[in-house]
Amino acid sequence: MVDMSVKIGNVIFKNPVLTASGTFGYGDEISSLIDINLLGGIVTKSITYNPRKGNPPPRIAETTAGMLNSIGLANIGVKRFLDEKIRLYESFDARVIVSVAGETIKEYCKVVECIEKKDNIDGYEINISCPNTDRGGIYFGIDKKMSGNLVTELKKLTARLLIVKLTPNVTSISEIAEAVEDAGADCVSLVNSFIGMAVDVKTRKPKIKKIIGGLTGPCIKPLALAKVHEVYSKVKIPVIGIGGIVTGDDALEFLMAGASAVEVGTASFFNPYAPIKIVEEIKSYLEENNMKKVSEVVGIIIVS
């Protein structure tokens, strides 16, 4: 039997596969289709203090082997989240990580403070990297000092697992990773979406109402992998790999490049079974290669 579990901070995930924030709703949308308890965990849609309507449509566009989105952090706000969603998680066997977003340090803190009062939550993923809001998040993610300060403040409020989600739209992602590590983050997850754009040449309009959006899906996998490898070689805390993962082999690439776990995003849109299938495929790989623990593949790429 292969031991698929991974420990990140103080949380044990039964396997290294999570769903990525904003791509799996609050966890109840397709529960009739897939058994969430087969996953290591879910990361919720990013929660802000006040509800957010999100951006005007069109919000999404397909691109070659990927898609652009400009959802704009549409969410029900922390109050409704606690009232309506959190009880779902009582019956969950998978770990639940709440993604937290905000425009100011204070807003992030308020969201975390509210959620701290409730059980059934295993940790936070701090989204300092959403490219789709006019203010907020992304500005932390490109500034190492602000990112560090935010983490310092949040650490005062919670003993739960604190993951910081990084943006790839920077010259040096490992600089930001080091800053949040120094400030006490337990883990970094990467990448959030890349800034992209598409134009409909017939109408001459950008395909996304807000002109730019976040690029995700298989097209970004090589970029995400390079960032994960870079960060892995610079920080000591665990890294969660995200970006274009659809198959077990994709996930293994990230694990081999140094990720302790992975999150699956866009793949769930076109293949709802993808996250579960990835768990199975990683397991098969380990079995075929006579490995006992999934942690054995972390960072094992052979460099000569």
């Binding site: 009739s32 289709l33 849609k45 449509p57 919000r59 566009a61």
Partner: protein, 268 residues
């Protein structure tokens, strides 16, 4: 809501015109549980280009044989690939998705208005209601004669079938919305009717303002760009009037694709 993601085998794929196809897929679980106005998301390729599934309205189900049918038009690379499939090929089919038409107000007469390739959900509706002995008036607009499908079936089931084509090759020449509007003004239509419409969004907007003017209840089926079809991505938002001066976004895939037209904030 029960949902299935199944491998469906293509049972037939018939070319109806140059670019319009009729597809039958064996999908017993989905076939059994469809309501008119619902749709499926079909993955046309195992590779990642195109990446996303494509949404198609259900035209009809043959539940004894476990088949669902769609009619689709080739407009881009996804539908092109679909049109090149063969009998026996297997497709990933996710469904049934969305909320279909609401028939709870059975006191009303039903007027159906279909434009072009927006016709399938209305056909499903007629098929669904065929044993109800309801008088259905069907307005059917197409580009040209060849793009009017199932005319015989429609004539058999509907109390009245009004056809228009843009080139005048069948029925009246012109737009179906104009004819509908004229008929309303001429008083030919019962005023306690409920209208159901599918077609391109600009047409729906026109129908919507006609119905508003004449105080007719209208349900429309919207077609937005979709990534997931299941409410995961929040991509298919449509602006909906709120109680106050405010608005909110609803999801076409989950809260729709059928909406009461009077709550939609039409744009563009």
């Amino acid at each position: 809501m029960v949902l299935y993601d199944k491998k469906g085998e293509i049972r037939y794929l018939n070319k109806l015109t140059d670019d319009i196809y009729h597809l039958g897929i064996k999908c017993p679980e989905i076939s059994k549980r469809c309501h008119p106005g619902q749709f499926v998301m079909i993955r046309v390729s195992e590779n990642y280009d195109p990446l996303l599934r494509r949404p198609f309205s259900i035209l009809r189900t043959i539940s004894e044989e476990g088949i669902i049918e769609i009619i689709f038009k080739v407009v881009g690379k996804g539908t092109k690939i679909l049109s090149e499939k063969r009998r026996g090929d297997v497709l990933d089919v996710l469904g049934p998705l969305g909320r279909g038409f609401n028939f709870s107000d059975r006191s009303k007469n039903y007027i159906l208005i279909g434009g072009g390739i927006g016709f399938p959900p209305l056909f499903f509706m007629i098929d669904f209601l065929k044993n109800e002995k309801k008088d259905i008036i069907f307005y059917y607009g197409a580009k040209r004669k060849e793009e009017i499908f199932f005319k015989m079936e429609l004539q058999k089931i509907c109390a009245k079938l009004v056809l228009t084509t843009e080139d005048g090759s069948s029925g009246e020449k012109g737009l179906i919305s104009d004819v509908f509007s004229k008929d309303l003004d001429a008083g030919i239509l019962e005023s306690d009717s409920e209208v159901f419409s599918c077609g391109p969004n600009p047409m729906l907007k026109v129908i919507s303002s006609i119905c508003e003017r004449c105080d007719l209840k209208l349900q429309v089926s919207l077609e937005n760009m979709m990534a997931c079809g299941t409410g995961l991505c929040q991509g298919c938002a449509v602006k909906i009037k709120n109680s106050k001066d405010d608005f909110e976004y609803k999801l076409v895939c989950k809260d729709g694709p059928v909406f009461d037209s009077n709550i939609i904030l039409w744009e563009g």
